[in-house]
């Protein structure tokens, strides 16, 4: 059997006396949307922060494998996680570069490729042909994504001036421009209206099917989670209480008790 794209093994994260994530293990597969859900404070964002190298986990291993390569994320510097292990991520509170144009936000995501071609900017400055080719490829890729998210007409706007829903989609496009093996989305549907949320579903499904990468999703919006996820992991107080396909999770009594039944305030965003 081939290794899963992402394998989280016995992850624990403690902040002082608080255990935010407690002995969590799960796998996320290539070409699948895996959702992590749970009540506020369940430790979902902490899992993401461990994945992207914000904190070293107290215990546990985070393994990414694709092709012949295998990476242990907990031992890598942040920028190498993005560059080599090819993990891309978005945030609950959008983190675009607000003073760069929409197009530049997508080009800067292809930095590694451009920087390698530019030989410390010298080739870029002189406009050497090889660099020009790489640069025009980067712009092409950016424009391809702008077309997919319907922002091509506004490519020279400052990203900070876009409407909220567009910023959300632009952030996903930017993450995709880093050429990730796995896309981690932290509440991408937060604050979207039903129409935008349906567009988001379409986008995520097309990323799974057409771009063929794994998607890891934290979400509160049940319509998104139940509709598009292939697998759902439910956290409560940092522990996994269920793991399986949407239908199985929906009817799991432990889940209903911890989350769907008692916590009716599911739309509210968490801030773990």
């Amino acid at each position: 059997m081939t290794k899963p794209l992402l394998s989280v093994e016995h992850l624990s994260m403690q902040f002082g006396g608080l255990t935010a994530v407690d002995d969590l293990s799960f796998d996320a597969a290539d070409r699948r949307i895996t959702a992590i859900i749970g009540p506020n404070g369940a430790g979902k964002t902490t899992v993401f922060n461990c994945l992207t190298g914000f904190y070293p986990p107290t215990v546990g291993r985070l393994i990414v494998s694709f092709g012949e390569s295998q990476y242990q994320l907990e031992q890598m510097e942040g920028f190498r996680i993005a560059r080599e292990a090819r993990i891309a991520r978005t945030f609950q509170n959008i983190r675009l570069f607000p003073q760069m144009s929409v197009l530049e936000n997508l080009v800067v995501a292809q930095h590694t490729k451009l920087m390698n071609a530019s030989m410390f900017s010298i080739a870029g400055l002189l406009g050497l042909p090889r660099y020009r080719t790489v640069e025009s490829e980067a712009i092409e890729k950016a424009e391809h994504w702008l077309e997919r998210i319907g922002l091509l007409a506004r490519s020279d706007w400052d990203a900070g001036n876009l409407p909220y829903g567009d910023q959300r989609r632009l952030e996903i496009a930017r993450a995709m421009c880093t050429n990730p093996a796995m896309l981690c989305l932290d509440e991408p549907a937060a604050g979207l209206n039903p129409r935008e949320s349906a567009e988001l579903n379409e986008l995520l499904i097309s990323i799974r099917n057409d771009d063929g990468i794994g998607v890891l999703l934290i979400e509160h919006d049940m319509s998104v989670v139940m509709e598009i996820s292939d697998k759902i992991i439910v956290l409560d107080y940092g522990r996994k209480i269920a793991d399986g396909e949407p239908d199985a999770v929906r009817s799991d009594p432990a889940v209903i008790r911890a989350y769907l039944g008692e916590d009716g305030d599911a739309q509210e965003s968490s801030n773990v």
């Binding site: 560059r83 607000p98 800067v108 071609a117």
Partner: protein
């Protein structure tokens, strides 16, 4: 009128030098949000390295001068860049993530260390350099007053303007510049896109130091007199230029440098030369009262 023109020429020359130093401050402020108070000393070291290189190359007159200038320029830029890089590695990188005040104290410490290092190794007396480039164009004559545009002033302005143009292209058009702007706006996010933030910061210091070295060389050639203390006032002036232009903004640094140079030149020309620094700083106070973010600076936006 003639007198005005002469002071305008002098002011633009001075402003070009301030502008070169000011870019180093503003870039570092932009990317790591601290004032690199040792930047004036980096400029001073650039001046010393140029002086020493000139003396080693010898007073090779005539046709050799352009080549000598170019060689000295390259030596000064590369060696000073090493100082800039080392400064960041030793004094600022270990303090990344600690309160800003710590880095500020570290910067002041480095400033004193560099001053004393040059004082000890080169002596405290002023160093002089025989004029390498003499002469110029006589633009106008009125009575016994002649307006002179010296070759040295032309070189200073041309070199400065072309370096700023190259620099501007790097910032706006290349992958490196894009990475720098990304780090300015959100370092964590930049790292998540695969940008090596530490290296980008190092390159920023290297670029800033190289530009300061050019300014140092120009001052050495223009005035012909330097000492270990020359970086202090030049640094403060360049910093003033940054604040005037709007700190964090590169066009602001260029504009601010030019304005400070002009203010100084005209004040010394028409009023009293003793109070030229007072004049420069007073204009700064006035601008800050009415435009706290500087002329070209963006107003600080409260992040929620």
């Amino acid at each position: 009128m003639e007198y005005f023109l002469q002071q305008l020429i002098n002011g633009v020359t001075l402003g070009a030098i301030y502008g070169l130093i000011a870019i180093g401050y503003t870039m570092v402020y932009g990317i790591i949000g601290m004032i690199n108070f040792a930047h004036g000393e980096i400029f001073m070291i650039g001046a010393f390295i140029s002086l020493i290189s000139f003396l080693i190359l010898g007073p090779s007159g005539g046709a050799m001068v352009p080549i000598a200038l170019l060689v000295v320029l390259l030596i000064a830029m590369s060696l000073t860049a090493v100082y800039g890089w080392a400064l960041e590695r030793i004094a600022y990188r270990p303090l990344r993530g600690s309160p800003r005040l710590a880095a500020l104290i570290s910067a002041i410490g480095m400033s004193i260390i560099l001053q004393n290092y040059v004082q000890l190794s080169q002596g405290a007396r002023v160093k002089t350099l025989q004029p390498v480039i003499e002469g110029g164009f006589q633009l106008m004559k009125a009575g016994n007053f002649t307006v002179v545009l010296s070759y040295m002033q032309i070189i200073i302005v041309v070199v400065t303007v072309s370096l700023m143009a190259v620099f501007w292209t790097v910032i706006t058009k290349t992958a490196l510049g894009r990475a720098q702007r990304a780090c300015e706006q959100d370092r964590t996010m930049a790292a998540l896109l695969g940008i090596d933030v530490d290296r980008t910061i190092s390159i920023t210091f290297i670029l800033g130091a190289a530009l300061a070295a050019v300014a140092g060389m120009m001052v050495t050639l223009y005035y012909g007199v330097i000492d270990f203390y020359v970086g202090f006032l030049a640094g403060i002036k360049a910093f003033t230029a940054d604040v005037l232009g709007g700190i964090g903004s590169i066009p602001g640094a260029m504009l601010g440098g030019l304005l400070i140079g002009l203010i100084e030149a005209f004040w010394s020309g028409y009023f009293s030369i003793e109070y030229k620094d007072v004049a420069a700083f007073s204009i700064l106070v006035l601008v800050l009262v009415f435009r706290p973010s500087g002329l070209l600076g963006r107003p600080e936006v409260e992040k929620v």
